[in-house]
């Protein structure tokens, strides 16, 4: 057969993706409300959020598997809202890999090429090369059932590898893998991404995966993007309590406080604490004197007094009773409870002996790194700072 291969659509030279005010309604339920973002050529954007936040729906709209209720999706300068998935020129790696159990590994990888009637030789070369890249070239004649989970995942990656797509999509591709396989799988995904250097969207519920992979990360909740930025943007300058809580593990500790003026400075009082506001935040804090706020302290910013990189005084000390100690490779994670019964967590780079269980210990808070949030809206009170960064 000498039929010509079916040509895939071409988009304008910059194949960047633009998402503008996209919405998705199921009945009268809003799954996605007004989402907008751009993806540059060669950029890997991670959509991360708890289950039901709309991240997968957004991905499926990009793929064309869900129709868009409102708004626009553009590939280059072309609006693709009405274009069928098979005509969009995309590649996708599914959570369950969606490799066909009745086809051999070779046929699975070749599936897209065969759909487009590529020449036999081209198919064979491309499939072999992709399989070699992902170390499954010895398995090409097997059926998927004979493969391990990690190998199946690499079949799915190879299937994306042989394609020349304008956009690559990943829907929680690591969630079915054992922990030991994930590091390798992450590298494989980055190999594919670097090889293609095309816009890529990656969906996960695991913030550590997002941190490890994303050039930029969009944190989603309730169908909206809460914040979009690099990993360190989200970690160091979260716009809201939600983002602060979601990014980082163990999660940030939150304390109910009230801001009071104190001479030129300010203090935070509450939860059995009286803490001096760090000079870098005094201006922001003094604008909220008398208001209830939530103070966020990352577990990494609580220090054993003797080893703290700052002076620990009465005005930056938190006391807690140790309830659990979890050893980690780099030290330990300690779960504590204040006298008022509030639970909080600290991570140390040293190992706390088990003899401290049920003992009360003092911890120094690195006040230059705390976050302040509006107690009602959850918005960050240090927002001036953030605006300066994200623009």
């Amino acid at each position: 057969m000498t039929t010509e291969a079916i040509a895939e659509p071409r988009y304008s030279s910059e194949t960047a993706i633009k998402v503008r005010g996209v919405q998705k309604r199921f009945g009268d339920k809003h799954a996605v409300e007004d989402v907008s973002f751009d993806i540059a050529d060669g950029e890997l954007l991670v959509l991360v959020g708890p289950s039901g936040c709309g991240k997968t729906t957004t991905l499926r709209m990009l793929a064309g598997l869900e129709p868009v209720s409102d708004g626009q999706i553009q590939f280059g300068d072309r609006v693709v809202n009405e274009i069928r998935p098979r005509d969009r020129r995309i590649a996708m790696v599914f959570q369950d890999y969606a490799i066909f159990p009745h086809l051999t590994v070779f046929e699975n990888i070749a599936y897209g090429l065969r759909s487009r009637r590529e020449a036999r030789k081209v198919v064979k070369d491309k499939v072999t090369e992709a399989a070699q890249t992902f170390r499954i070239d010895h398995l090409l004649t097997r059926k998927p059932r004979q493969l391990s989970g990690g190998e199946r995942q690499r079949v799915a990656l190879s299937r994306a590898m042989v394609r020349d797509a304008a956009l690559y999509l990943y829907d929680e591709p690591l969630s079915n893998l054992d922990a030991q396989l994930r590091h390798q799988a992450r590298e494989d995904i980055l190999t594919l991404h670097k090889n293609k250097h095309r816009p890529t969207v990656y969906v996960t519920h695991d913030q550590s995966e997002a941190m490890a992979l994303g050039d930029r990360i969009a944190v989603m909740a309730d169908g909206r993007i809460q914040q979009i930025g690099t990993g360190s943007d989200l970690y160091e300058r979260p716009v809201s309590e939600f983002v602060a809580f979601f990014i980082g593990t163990p999660s940030i500790n939150l304390f109910d406080m009230e801001i009071q003026a104190d001479g030129d400075g300010a203090v935070m009082v509450g939860s059995g604490l009286r803490l001096r506001v760090h000079p870098s935040m005094t201006a922001a804090a003094r604008a909220h004197v008398g208001q209830r706020v939530r103070m966020g302290v990352r577990p990494e910013d609580l220090h054993v007094p003797r080893m703290a990189p700052f002076e620990v005084t009465e005005e930056n000390t938190l006391h807690g009773i140790v309830t659990l100690i979890e050893p980690t490779a780099s030290g330990c994670t300690v779960y504590l409870s204040t006298a008022e019964g509030q639970d909080f967590v600290a991570t140390f780079t040293v190992r706390l002996p088990n003899s401290y269980l049920d003992q009360e210990i003092p911890l120094g808070i690195d006040l230059s790194k705390v976050h302040l949030f509006d107690a009602d809206t959850g918005a960050s009170l240090l927002k001036g700072d953030i605006d300066a960064v994200s623009r």
């Binding site: 069928r84 098979r86 996708m92 959570q95 969606a98 066909f100 159990p101 599936y111 059932r145 004979q146």
Partner: protein, 313 residues
Amino acid sequence: MTLQQEATETAGGAEPPAGTESQVREPAPSRRRRLERALFVLPAFSFQLTWGWYPLLMAFVISFTNARVRGPIEFTGLESYERMWSDPLVAEAFRVTAIYAVLSIGLTFFIPIFVAILLMEMPKRHIRWMMLLWFIPLSGIASTLLFRYMFNAQYGLFQWIATEVLGLEPQPFLNSSDQVLFWLVFPGILFFGPGLIYMATLQGIPASYYEAAEIEGAGFWRKMWTISLPRLRPVISMLLIFAVIGSTQVFEYPMIMTGGGPGGASRTVVMYLYELLQNLRYADATALGVFLFIGTMLLVIIQRRFFREDPDA
């Protein structure tokens, strides 16, 4: 984790050499549990023995005798087999049965596969309504009787459709020896045969297979050939056996609708067997039964041989 999962884990975990993966492993039961299992199986087993295997064996024995209602029963060897072999009515009955089987499997077994795949393209809501319609329980005998009236060449509904709606010449329907077998199969098309089972199976295929295929550029036909049909294969394979057995043993439809007519054009093997029994030719009837049994078994063996059941192995 369920037992099954653990079992497959054990089987698939360490990349066993090709050929052993598909073997299902079961936990070795203790003696007490083996006994418990045997007790559960016992009632079904004894029923099968009494009402299934014993009559089969007896029929086989009778076929070698000159069994009749009165008088001494003697073994007559292959006499009844020879008689049946040379009976032209037997050959005719086998011919009718074969045509019926081909028509019935072609029209009520294979067509629904494609209809079911097409129906799956409809919105979920509609699919549910369609399935509900087909689920309405009907007595086979009652509906067959109904169809007999509808096929009536003078006042039947189908005659009205043929002449008034389609403007054709009046059709003989069941009175034509050329058409009768087709009209016997026809109700089965309307009842959608095993279509519901196909649809249930199709609904069990992960949506991600179709989505992945779509993203990889596959259209409707390619998705059907590369996903729907392979996934249906185990079900098709199993139902085909039932269809073969069912159609070679067909009795009640011709019995009610035509009584075997016109002129034996719808007299199937089992109908002829029934007639032999009514004439008290027990030995001949059982010998014919053995012929049919052997014929059906051959078909089933051929089917098993050429229709691989597990598409994933």
